[in-house]
């Protein structure tokens, strides 16, 4: 679906592991990989996928498939919620359906592969002391809204800069120039203290003329 495609495209640009995984709000986990061969319409999938939590039995995941823009295939495993455990090593394996040989493997911590939604409702105001006051709403992160860091991209026709904001949803930019068009967008990521992951998409850009 659409959400999957957005998060997948983030991972494809930021993650070099063959098996790519992400969680959105820590109660879900999706892993996928792209098979470079063009898909056949064969009824049986050529792969099977297994996961194993430290100290527990290996389980199989039922794969779904999706065609990519390049006509290749995504193989996708959506984990059942009760098997999403944080702070523990999860081992993943792709096997060939025939022959049980391990084709690829990876291990990861679910708490380290978060992809948040983009921040929303970005607003910009100019206050009386010529400051830009930029505010936004945090993405959903299940009681961890105060554990998010942000990048705020501020650009004019001349310059572009990015400010990193820790755990706040406001940035006050002093000394802005007059008669200038400022374009602002914000993206989010866990603050890397207890949780980590990838940068979200940029929010819709907002423009203000000073």
């Amino acid at each position: 679906d659409d959400i999957f495609r957005r998060k997948a495209s983030i991972l494809i640009s930021q993650e070099s592991e063959y098996i790519k995984c992400f969680t959105q709000i820590l109660e879900d986990l999706t892993c996928f990989w792209e098979d470079e061969k063009e898909s056949t319409a064969a009824e049986q999938l050529p792969y099977s996928f297994y996961y194993q939590e430290e100290g527990k039995d290996e389980k199989a995941c039922i794969l779904s498939i999706q065609q990519t823009a390049a006509k290749t295939m995504y193989y996708i495993c959506s984990f059942p919620m009760e098997d999403v455990t944080l702070f523990t090593t999860l081992s993943l394996k792709i096997k060939s359906v025939h022959g049980e040989s391990i084709l690829r493997q990876r291990s990861l911590l679910v708490d380290q592969v978060v992809i948040l939604d983009a921040p929303s409702n970005v607003s910009v105001q100019i206050n009386w002391t010529r400051q830009l006051v930029i505010r936004w709403h945090p993405p959903d992160f299940k009681h961890l809204q105060d554990s998010i860091m942000y990048e705020v991209n501020i650009s004019t026709s001349d310059v572009q800069k990015v400010e990193v904001i820790m755990e706040k949803t406001e940035l006050v930019l002093p000394n802005v120039k007059g008669h200038t068009t400022y374009t602002i967008a914000v993206r989010a990521k866990p603050n890397e203290i207890s949780f980590n992951g990838y940068w979200s998409d940029w929010s819709e850009p907002v423009t203000v003329v000073t």
Binding site: E27, P80, M81, E82, D83, V84, T85, L86, F87, T88, D111, K142, H143, L144, D146, S147, I193, S194, F195
Partner: protein
């Protein structure tokens, strides 16, 4: 900056808030939340003075044993419920209990194979509502106190 995830108080707080959500979700329960079997759960009550005087090993035992009992109870309950909203709360809680267990392991507390003799007498519950109330009290109480103390010792 906290040394370990568990010492970032926001992490434990997240689990506590989710336990309260599950507790509140059970308020909509009528007779559908009566259980056909009795569940055995750890007693969440704490006398702070006694708790502070217990040695760390004994506290760890209470905590480990309690988490194991909740894990078992959630698996048991999973077989008994069919309502989707309830299944969500049970699955979510099961997953959270395992995450809490994992995170406590990072405290290097020796996992104690509890000989039940020295532990507080378990409680018996017969409704889902009570199960989630006890779980939330256990997390807010024994686990939170245990973790705060462990992280405080860590800082020194």
């Amino acid at each position: 900056i906290p040394v370990r995830p568990i010492c970032d108080s926001r992490v434990m707080d997240k689990f506590i808030k989710e336990a309260k959500e599950a507790e509140i979700a059970m308020e909509s329960c009528t007779n559908t939340c009566d259980l056909t079997e009795e569940l055995s759960l750890p007693d969440p009550k704490v006398n702070v003075k006694e708790w502070m005087q217990m040695d760390r090993k004994a506290q760890a035992k209470e905590v480990w044993n309690g988490l194991a009992m909740f894990t078992r109870a959630m698996l048991q309950v999973r077989e008994l419920v069919s309502d989707n909203a309830l299944i969500y709360s049970v699955d979510k809680t099961y997953s959270n209990i395992r995450s809490v267990t994992r995170v406590l392991k990072s405290l290097n507390v020796q996992e104690e194979l509890a000989s039940s003799s020295s532990l507080q007498t378990p409680l018996t519950v017969r409704t889902l509502r009570r199960l989630f109330l006890v779980y939330s009290n256990f997390l807010r109480g024994k686990i939170k106190l245990f973790v705060s103390e462990a992280c405080r010792q860590d800082e020194r």
